[in-house]
């Protein structure tokens, strides 16, 4: 009796182990080895459609889907249709990680396009590194990251600041007030800004951080009044930026003598604060909606006819759009059987594309993009006037504030 039961258990366990680790595993592996199947290739689209950052991420979702539709309408990539799998991570980093795992493991997506905040990028990073998949991140960010599994198509600090800071120093003066929200992005941007200012002989009279979501700037504005800086370098984000601009205007300060310079105020933020409050201030970005190029004209027209005539495009939705086209070019170089995340990464290295902002290129060493920074001044109608643009595209250097570190194809190197 006893023996029988033991045998039975043993057999059951063996069968169980076999069935778990045996056939189905080999099977599923065989069946899904190819990422391109049945004439389609699956990609994940991971932008929050609900929650606090949904407003901005929704526009990224729209730009991404529009680019995919364009490619499919054009016959796909070598006859393969792109099938987007859209997930809503609800502005929550933990949900981002969970949805990323789902897209990579159960949907077997060959790449995932998504996320806006640094917190959500950091949350999905381990998924892509562990599963050797590929993540495409369209947002400008603070740099200091060197992953082999992320293609970064937004600007890093040196690309937004190298032209901007000297230009502002020359035009307005050397007394700078740095104000930012209290988290990693503003601190890293300020690190690089301080380095540039030091080289220019300019002076940082204050560096201050307010809590995320802070909306009462009367003390800060009082300090602007008494310190009289030449430039206010603002890395304040979210609804705080609306409050800061509106209270700056209510206080009767003058952008002509004490302008705010921002790296994050796009057409989108301006729409939220009102053109009257934004007018006269400066932003540095690779793309503005008013930029005059045939590619941009096409982009803006297509975006508005697809999603509504009152919609604005901005520098993050532009990267969300052109990164799909970089993806297309990379996949087009591969034969259907070879298509996989790492093959796409190798194929996209050095790839160039004529984006709405101008010609861009993926840097083979660090997988960031060569971009074309511009300086814009906001006008009362909510659009920018482009004052200068860099003569050539600018190399991405995610470790620009840390000269002894360099991101290379082999990973981070100390030099």
């Amino acid at each position: 009796m006893n023996r029988n039961r033991r045998n039975f258990l043993k057999a059951g366990a063996a069968a169980g182990a076999f069935s778990l680790a045996g056939f189905p595993h080999i099977w599923s592996k065989n069946a899904s080895l190819a990422f391109a199947q049945d004439g389609e290739i699956k990609v994940g689209v991971l932008f929050s459609l609900t929650g606090t950052t949904a407003i901005i991420e929704e526009s990224l979702n729209k730009a991404t889907l529009m680019a995919i539709e364009e490619i499919n309408a054009d016959g796909g990539i070598n006859g393969l249709k792109i099938t987007p799998v859209v997930e809503d991570p609800a502005s929550d980093p933990a949900t981002f990680a969970e949805k990323a795992r789902k897209l990579v493991l159960s949907d077997r997506c060959v790449s995932v396009f998504g996320s806006y905040t640094s917190a959500s990028r950091k949350a999905v990073l381990p998924v892509f590194e562990k599963q050797e998949n590929l993540f495409w991140y369209p947002t400008l960010y603070e740099g200091r990251e060197c992953s082999k599994n992320v293609i970064y198509t937004g600007a890093v600090p040196n690309q937004q600041q190298d032209d901007f800071i000297p230009w502002l120093v020359e035009k307005f003066g050397k007394r700078w007030y740095l104000i930012g929200s209290n988290y990693i992005y503003p601190k890293e941007e300020n690190n690089y800004c301080k380095k540039l200012l030091e080289g220019l002989g300019a002076e940082v009279i204050a560096e201050e951080y307010v809590p995320l979501g802070h909306s009462e700037f009367s003390s800060v504005i009082n300090k602007f009044r008494s310190e009289k800086p030449n430039v206010i370098f603002s890395t304040v984000v979210g609804d705080s930026v609306v409050a800061l601009h509106r209270q700056y205007r209510a206080a009767g300060l003058d952008p002509a003598s004490m302008p705010m310079a921002s790296l994050t105020t796009s057409e989108n933020e301006v729409a939220a604060m009102g053109g009257d409050a934004a007018a006269g201030h400066f932003t540095s970005a690779p793309y503005f909606m008013v930029f005059d190029s045939p590619e941009n004209q096409r982009f803006v027209e297509a975006y508005r006819s697809r999603w509504g005539g009152d919609k604005v495009t901005h520098f993050v939705s532009e990267s969300a759009y052109f990164q799909i086209h970089l993806f297309r070019q990379a996949v087009a170089k591969l034969t259907a059987g070879d298509i996989g995340p790492l093959a796409i990464r190798e194929a996209v290295k050095g790839e160039e594309y004529k984006a709405p902002q101008g010609l861009v290129k993926v840097e083979p060493e660090n997988l960031h993009c060569w971009l074309r920074p511009k300086i814009g001044q906001c006008k009362a109608d909510g659009q920018f006037e482009i004052l200068t643009q860099s003569a050539d595209w600018l190399e991405p250097n995610p470790y620009s504030a840390y000269p002894n570190q360099k991101c290379t194809a082999e990973g981070l190197r100390e030099v």
Binding site: S219, S226, V242, R249, A250, M273
Partner: protein, 289 residues
């Protein structure tokens, strides 16, 4: 000199916003004892009304203030009738119910008005700045200060000099005995709740040109309002006035010498310490138990 003046003005401006937001809460909490966690949502709805009236119907902010007060007061009246009055003797349930109402309101606004940040245009007549003893301050902020003080005075007069105020004070001290003297306490509670909600709505409308308008904006204000009420002493209108003045000036001053993050933390620590030694708040009225 102008530095001292502008520092005082900054503090007063902070105080006026605190007072506006806390006044409605102090009235409701003081009289009915309801801990209204949906208070921030009344503020938010007031701001959205201002936005709606301005963007859809072209009303200027000043013209729409009275309408906003009436709208939000009516809403408060409805909520009292539908929910709060069934829960007067169950403080924990009111906390849960008002919190739930707050969450629902946020989502309803998100679904109808959309989640994008909105702004309200400042009245053109007040968009300049004014010179006071060598210091410049925004005319609009001074206007908000004046309105806050005016509302406080009005509320205090109602409380002090009208027969309705007398009844309120009687109910506040002991509801059962006041009722036995023929005071309709249910009606008094309803009007108090509506009035408190209306003032919160006004607060939202008045601060909307200075801040961003979003479905979640109420959450920060409800915390500030509770801070003011707890520090000032429940059931004390003068305490609310004094504690918003103290909190505003202190955080203004601390923020000037350090920054807003540290100021907020220090103010909270100070409140915790004060409450430890004076749990009844700074200005609790002496009542015979």
């Amino acid at each position: 000199m102008d530095f001292v003046v502008s520092q005082i003005l900054t503090g007063l401006s902070l105080s006026s916003i605190l007072l506006l937001v806390a006044l409605g809460l102090a009235i409701i909490y003081g009289v009915t004892g309801v801990i209204n966690l949906a208070h921030g949502e009344f503020v938010m709805l007031g701001a959205y009304c201002a936005w709606l009236l301005q963007s859809q119907f072209g009303w200027s902010l000043l013209a729409s203030l009275a309408v906003i007060f009436l709208l939000i007061a009516a809403l408060g009246w409805l909520i009292e009738v539908a929910v709060i009055r069934h829960l007067y003797d169950r403080p924990l349930d009111t906390i849960l119910a008002t919190w739930g109402l707050g969450v629902m309101t946020q989502q309803i606004v998100r679904l109808t008005a959309g989640g994008e940040l909105r702004y309200v245009q400042m009245p053109p007549s007040l968009s300049g700045s004014v010179n006071i003893l060598g210091a410049t301050d925004s005319a609009y902020r001074l206007f908000v200060l004046a309105v806050a003080l005016g509302l406080f005075l009005l509320t205090w007069c109602i409380y002090r000099y009208t027969s309705f105020g007398l009844k309120l004070r009687a109910i506040t001290q002991n509801r059962a005995i006041a009722s036995s003297f023929g005071i309709n306490s249910a009606r008094a509670y309803r009007l108090t709740f509506a009035y408190g909600a209306g003032i919160a709505g006004l607060a939202g409308a008045l601060i909307s040109p200075l801040k961003s308008v979003s479905p979640e904006m109420g959450t920060t204000y409800v915390v500030d309002a509770f801070m003011v009420v707890v520090l000032g002493g429940v059931q004390s209108l003068v305490g609310t006035l004094a504690s918003s003045a103290v909190l505003g000036e202190t955080s203004g001053l601390l923020a000037y010498y350090s920054n807003d993050t540290i100021a907020k933390a220090l103010v909270l620590i100070a409140i915790v310490i004060i409450i430890r030694f004076r749990p009844q708040g700074l200005f609790a009225p002496r009542v015979r138990a």
